[in-house]
């Protein structure tokens, strides 16, 4: 008995040490840098650059989960985020008191997320029988339908102007829209969703999803209900997108049809592709690049003597350049660089395993 207990304890210890050691030094640097960021970054950088990057990264992460692991390119993720944002505005507090129910956050947020997941599952259920370009078309159609419906419906969605004054709750006496608090709030949820996706990718559910992507017929021949698995993936992705949507609504304190318009819907796809669909870190890299470009390209263009309104051009060109050099996005470039470094004969032994 004692022996077994001892070895078990020893094993647990081993694993703990192993876990800490398995995280390379570069990762620790990034983690610590992110944690102490508020010490030296400006309020604008924290709130507008990083806060927004984390949020868009989460919404793009939900697309990466579906597209990268499940092979389903869904353009509806921004719509799901928008729907979740609308739901906290409708069930929670906003300046539009005629419509908003004013329920407390611990009721309105779960309702918003549940509705987002139900909507995501419904879209999934409609689109899992299609493949490739048809999935893109169906989800794009649903996204545009939602945009026009929200814009024309005044009873529930308050039409063109949507809702303003949608604020996060003053939990623990903290103003969560303060730049530092908001930075940590978004950082927390971004890291959590990133780690959960990373963890799920090696769970039976995640492995099976990748199996469904590579070989649906074989998965059915192993006893998996392929369509049910895909719908479950949509539901999970909708949860991440929904959390991102609520944070996005709090950040701008408003939600309107334009938040989930066709432009933003496509932007999420661009973010995910720029970053890379192979690994859950990709969407966050893509989101950061997108936010930096979108924020500073106006200044950059006016400095060059061009019209500032042409910032979309700069984003488009960057997109083309990245996709041209590496179809796998920034992550693909990174892999290429690592591999070329691995060819060095002096380092050959260790790198060949990659």
């Amino acid at each position: 008995m004692a022996l077994i207990e001892e070895t078990e304890a020893g094993e647990a210890d081993d694993r703990k040490v192993g876990w800490a050691e398995r995280v390379p030094v570069q990762y620790w640097v990034v983690i610590i840098l992110l944690l102490i960021m508020p010490a030296f970054a400006s309020d604008f950088t924290l709130f507008q650059i990083f806060g927004w990057s984390f949020i868009l990264g989460m919404i793009a992460l939900s697309l990466m989960f579906l597209a990268g692991y499940g092979g389903m390119v869904s353009l509806v993720q921004m719509t799901i985020a928008g729907l979740a944002g609308y739901m906290i505005a409708i069930f929670g507090d906003s300046a539009i008191t005629d419509i908003s129910q004013g329920w407390p956050w611990y009721v309105s947020i779960p309702i918003a997320l549940i509705i987002a997941m139900l909507f995501g599952s419904l879209v999934g259920w409609l689109s899992v029988r299609t493949e490739g370009i048809y999935t893109i078309m169906i989800t794009l159609a649903i996204a545009s339908a939602f945009f026009y419906f929200a814009r024309q419906n005044y009873v529930v969605f308050n039409g063109f102007s949507g809702f303003n004054g949608v604020l996060p709750p003053m939990l623990f006496g903290v103003d969560w829209r303060g730049s530092q608090a908001f930075y940590y709030l978004t950082l927390f949820w971004a890291c959590l969703s990133y780690l959960v996706v990373l963890y799920l990718s090696r769970s039976p559910f995640g492995l099976a999803l990748q199996g469904v992507r590579d070989n649906p017929r074989r998965m059915a021949a192993l006893g998996f209900n392929v369509n049910a698995h895909r719908v479950a993936a949509y539901a999970f992705a909708a949860l991440i997108a929904g959390i991102g949507g609520i944070l996005l609504t709090w950040q701008s304190a408003q939600i309107s049809p334009g938040t989930a318009g066709v432009g933003p819907v496509i932007d999420i796809l661009i973010i995910a592709v720029i970053g890379g669909l192979r690994h859950p870190i990709g969407p966050f890299i893509g989101a950061f690049i997108y936010v930096v470009l979108k924020t500073f390209s106006v200044d950059f263009l006016t400095a060059l003597g061009l019209g500032g309104e042409r910032f979309q051009l700069l984003i488009g060109i960057s997109f083309l350049v990245i996709v041209f050099w590496s179809p796998d996005g920034i992550l693909g470039l990174w892999e290429k660089w690592r591999r070329s470094r691995g060819k060095d004969p002096l380092r050959d032994a260790g790198e060949s395993k990659l």
């Binding site: 963890y199 799920l200 090696r202 769970s203 039976p204 559910f205 492995l207 099976a208 990748q210 199996g211 590579d214 070989n215 017929r217 074989r218 998965m219 059915a220 021949a221 192993l222 006893g223 998996f224 209900n225 392929v226 698995h229 479950a232």
Partner: protein, 263 residues
């Protein structure tokens, strides 16, 4: 209609019914009849070889039985239960298994992960969000299966790095996951070396005696050594049925197989 629903009913059905019963199964691809009016009865535990030239409809037969596609007409009963309309995954969950002629494996995953997925597919852990731990029951059964096909040294190797013969072995390990009651082997010996063939015959003859199977095989040596009955197919029809010795000596079969004919 009167398909058994409860576990005990299904077990009772196991005792009395045939493992596999095909009645009047036909499959049309447009105007082409890949299968016409196939009637096959296989007892529980029976080992049957299906022979026939290319295009005889052997793999189509397998695809109809596992539900990869539905037959145009006819009924399929599996241990007494009518599975004609069931989707593939429901048939697999009832204990039917198959291997594929062209390996359909997950090349980006390791050997063990492939088998582990197969074990998940027929268990309640399909949707599990928890990563497998070292003492995970499914992982343990996956490791057992890897041992059954003598691949324990290659269990962490990516499938894309396996030799062709090893991929065929892995196919068999995946078909043995869960509690198979009946297995369809689609040309498991194709492309194997003589040594690998001997190992394959050992694995097949070493299967528990209640586990019946149908094997499609061009190599008469393999087919006749592992099977106790033979079905000859030709142009989508059943041409001959009998014991291996009878089939081997049948002049018509010899004319078809050895005389060259239309191959």
């Amino acid at each position: 209609m009167n398909a058994p629903t409860t576990v005990s009913e299904r077990l009772n059905a196991t005792g009395t019914a045939n493992a596999l019963e095909l009645r009047g199964v036909s499959k049309l691809f447009g105007a082409l009849a890949a299968l016409s009016d196939i009637n096959i009865t296989v007892r529980p535990g029976e080992r049957r070889a299906v022979l026939g030239s290319n295009g005889a409809g052997k793999t189509t037969l397998f695809n109809c039985i596992t539900g990869d596609f539905l037959p145009t007409s006819g009924s399929i009963r599996f241990f007494g239960e009518d599975i004609s309309e069931f989707p593939a995954h429901e048939r697999i969950r009832r204990g039917l298994r198959r291997t594929y002629q062209i390996s359909l494996l997950f090349t980006g995953l390791s050997v063990l992960d492939n088998v582990y997925l197969a074990c998940c597919g027929v268990s309640r852990g399909r949707f599990s969000l928890i990563r497998p731990r070292r003492n995970d029951a499914l992982m343990a059964s996956a490791e057992d299966l890897v041992r059954v096909v003598h691949m324990e040294d290659a269990k962490d190797t990516l499938v894309s790095e396996l030799s062709y013969g090893q991929q065929r072995q892995l196919e068999i390990a995946m078909a043995l996951s869960g509690a198979p009651r009946f297995i369809l082997f689609d040309e498991p010996a194709a492309g194997l070396s003589p040594t690998e063939r001997r190992e394959l015959v050992e694995i097949l003859t070493g299967l528990p005696s209640h586990m019946g199977f149908i094997i499609i095989e061009h190599d008469m040596d393999v087919a006749l050594r592992v099977a106790e009955s033979v079905t000859m197919m030709h142009n989508g029809r059943i041409f001959k049925e009998g014991k291996p010795a009878e089939i081997e000596e049948d002049p018509e079969v010899q004319a078809l197989y050895l005389g060259g004919g239309d191959g």
